[in-house]
């Protein structure tokens, strides 16, 4: 069944992408373009596709977004550009993510090199973490002429892109290609290097003009009732293990997933794609207040997952978990071969010299009290999606540039 886990749904062809682009109304003041957190301009790249300028479309996407091919696949567009789309006034929004995927796939096949390194300004920046925010800030800084070193504690770069999002939704070769683009531009990756144990923050601050912390929320949350239970795994561990094994894993027939966000949807759908017979997802929220994107939810339902909404886990005895409804007097007991917890992630700030509150630094902006140290990505204030990571990556780079170069153009 690993085939089913590694297989990405097919994308548009030249003919079908032209048909989809022809549905676009080419609005005067395109609301899609105003709705992208990362500042992508769908109105412009869709117009380029409409007029058969795919290379121009690729430039529009790539010059704005170092992770354009990744965002095309994982962005919850229904909450941003597609929510704003005027075509909804007629029928359904333009499939902006799908068109972006066609264009970025074309860019890759054509071997286009769109990003350009800026003329060196002699300044060096260290970035801690190689997830989406770290990668985007590296790209923006390189474009401005900075030298960039990225420190990653894991053996592979990419953070949640590599270890979290399932292969069928985001093939690893796409992630690898996006990262190669950035290393080709001049970023140096230091893998297997943890801050604190392998190199200290003081050392980084001494060696670099600025340090960006883009460590994300990489650790899974636990609930005390599940501590020391043999057949409980966290979503973070599960998704990383399956992705690393390319789906060549064996799971039991009856698995319960706890959680109602996109991660829970990924875990549940992955289990079905691996051939698990009974997958039951127990969700805290009721459907009306669901956190997962509609697209992810629909995919999970289509995969055949049983979703039960409004229930909170109470206790676990042996292999039996007891859930209680949040609002009505109801109880469910499920015997499961395995329980996977997708109840959120937390930040590990050990050795970084910063404090966080509810997973974020307790201020708005990027520069910390230590003027040499900046934060970005999930630990910075704002939404926790890839598209927001891209936005924050660009913004932290702009703020560093303003501080170090006073906003001067480097030319």
């Amino acid at each position: 069944m690993s085939n089913n886990y590694t297989k990405e749904d097919s994308g548009y062809t030249m003919t079908t992408v032209a048909e989809e682009a022809a549905r676009c109304l080419l609005c005067h003041d395109a609301p899609c373009t105003k709705a992208c957190p990362a500042g992508t301009d769908p109105a412009r790249f869709i117009r380029s596709v409409r007029f058969r300028n795919i290379k121009g479309a690729a430039e529009t996407i790539r010059e704005n977004n170092a992770l354009g091919a990744i965002c095309a696949r994982v962005c919850p567009t229904e909450k941003y550009c597609e929510l704003a789309c005027s075509r909804s006034g007629i029928d359904v929004p333009i499939d902006i993510g799908g068109i972006q995927r066609y264009v970025t796939d074309f860019e890759q096949q054509a071997g286009m090199k769109i990003l350009e390194k800026g003329k060196s300004n002699g300044l060096k920046i260290a970035i801690v973490g190689s997830g989406p925010a770290g990668l985007q800030s590296a790209t923006t800084l390189l474009e401005k002429g900075y030298a960039v070193d990225i420190y990653e504690k894991n053996t592979k770069p990419g953070g949640y892109l590599t270890y979290g999002i399932p292969e069928y939704r985001l093939p690893q070769n796409i992630v690898d290609y996006e990262i190669k683009r950035i290393t080709d531009l001049g970023a140096t990756l230091h893998l297997n290097t943890a801050i604190g144990s392998d190199i200290t923050m003081d050392q980084l601050k001494a060696d670099y003009d600025s340090v960006i912390l883009a460590v994300g929320a990489s650790e899974a949350k636990m609930l005390p009732m599940f501590d020391d239970q043999a057949n409980v795994e966290t979503a973070v561990d599960f998704l990383a293990r399956v992705k690393d094994a390319k789906g060549e894993v064996t799971e039991p027939d009856n698995v319960v997933v706890v959680g109602g966000g996109d991660v829970a949807m990924d875990v549940s759908t992955t289990l079905k794609r691996l051939g698990v017979k009974h997958v039951t997802d127990m969700v805290y929220e009721e459907f009306a207040e669901f956190r997962a994107s509609k697209k992810e939810l629909a995919g999970t339902q289509k995969a055949g997952v049983t979703i039960v909404d409004g229930y909170v886990p109470e206790s676990m005895t042996g292999n039996e978990v007891t859930f209680k409804h949040r609002k009505i007097d109801a109880e469910m007991k499920i015997k499961a071969d395995k329980v996977i917890l997708a109840i959120g992630q937390q930040v590990n700030t050990d050795g970084l010299g910063i404090t966080t509150k509810r997973g974020e630094v307790p201020f708005i902006g990027y520069q910390t009290q230590d003027p040499k140290v900046y934060v970005t990505g999930d630990i910075a204030h704002g939404d926790k999606t890839v598209v927001w990571a891209v936005r924050k990556g660009k913004e932290v780079a702009e703020e560093i540039d303003k501080t170090l170069m006073g906003g001067r153009q480097n030319d």
Partner: protein
Amino acid sequence: MINKDLGIDFLGVHFENPFCLSSSPVDNCYEMCAKAFDEGWGGVVFKTIGPEHFKIDEVSPRFDELTKEGTPFVGFKNMEQIAEHPLQENLDDLTKLKKNYPNKIVIASIMGTNEDDWVELARLVTEAGADMIEMNLSCPQMTSHAMGSDVGTNPALVKKYCAAVKRGSDLPMMAKMTPNITDMVPAAKAAMDGGADGIATINTVKSVANLDLDKKVALPIVNGKSSISGFSGKAVKPIALRFIQQLRVAAGMEQLPISGIGGIETWEDAVEFILLGSTTLQVTTAVMQYGYRIVEDMKNGLMHYMEEQGVDHLSDLVGIANKNILPAEDLDRDYKVYPKIDWDKCIGCGRCFISCFDGAHQAITWDEKTRRPSVDYSKCVGCQLCNLVCPVGAISTGKIEMKPGRQGNVEDIDIESVRLTH
């Protein structure tokens, strides 16, 4: 299901319906024509038969298409010439078709290289049992300059060859005209003077549709090179209708019998050709794209149109629109009509604003906050470009106003069209 008589007489021959295959790859042999008859076509103009001595040698590949956005076959380019099969085989097919389909109309298209060829071919197809002859004076991709559109643009040759055909046959005959000419009237008059009973038009328009940008060669690429050849399909419909209109209003040709050809693929296209003076209709490109079955919707749609119009005889529709197409200098220029915006339909895309500013008279303003257009009547000239570009049909023709100093009653002015008011 509606059932109305679509029968019509053309050059003294009765057609059960006006829909015919035009002389082309779509009716190249008995089996093709038989299938087309079975699916409901009223007649076929069998692929042009040439003289035995002229050898047909085709290129490969031989077609190209013009596309736009997601739409294939906006236009179609074709390099194929006339029938490749041996003369006797073609004649046998004509005989067999007429024998097995006595109520269908079999028209023999012929093309010679000289007078003797034309006389002889006319005689042979008459003996074979054809109901009518069409002279192909218009194929733009023949490998001989004594054939095809090079002949059709020369009125003296047209007249001479028409007379030759009339010497070889007493069948009703139409001459098929080329659009690759500024004015078709002299060639058509020459054909009628030579003895033709009617005109078939248009043949294909000489074209280069696309180029391969890497190889710098037009398409299709025939071992590294290409040629100018005939263009057909929806894109040529306006050109065909224009020629037919001009023929029907030329002095002395007001009742000219015409078989209309050029981009017909729907019943609406068919009605347009009939209203401008076509009695029968010929189709190829839409059949190449979709198959013979398209005749079903053309026939059924035409019946519903006749019902809506209260018309029982198709012939009552022939040419009744000719009088409504006038020279530009004869049109009423005393008024203008403003656009009217339906706010329930408007989705705020701003396309009218862009087109009015960039392509018309800057008469639409745009409210950034509400995302809605409004019309500045002091600047609007009433061109209705906004009406055409609106993707949701929210703009229609509205208030009519006389231009300053002009006489007239706005109540009497007629500009309404279901095709412009949505």
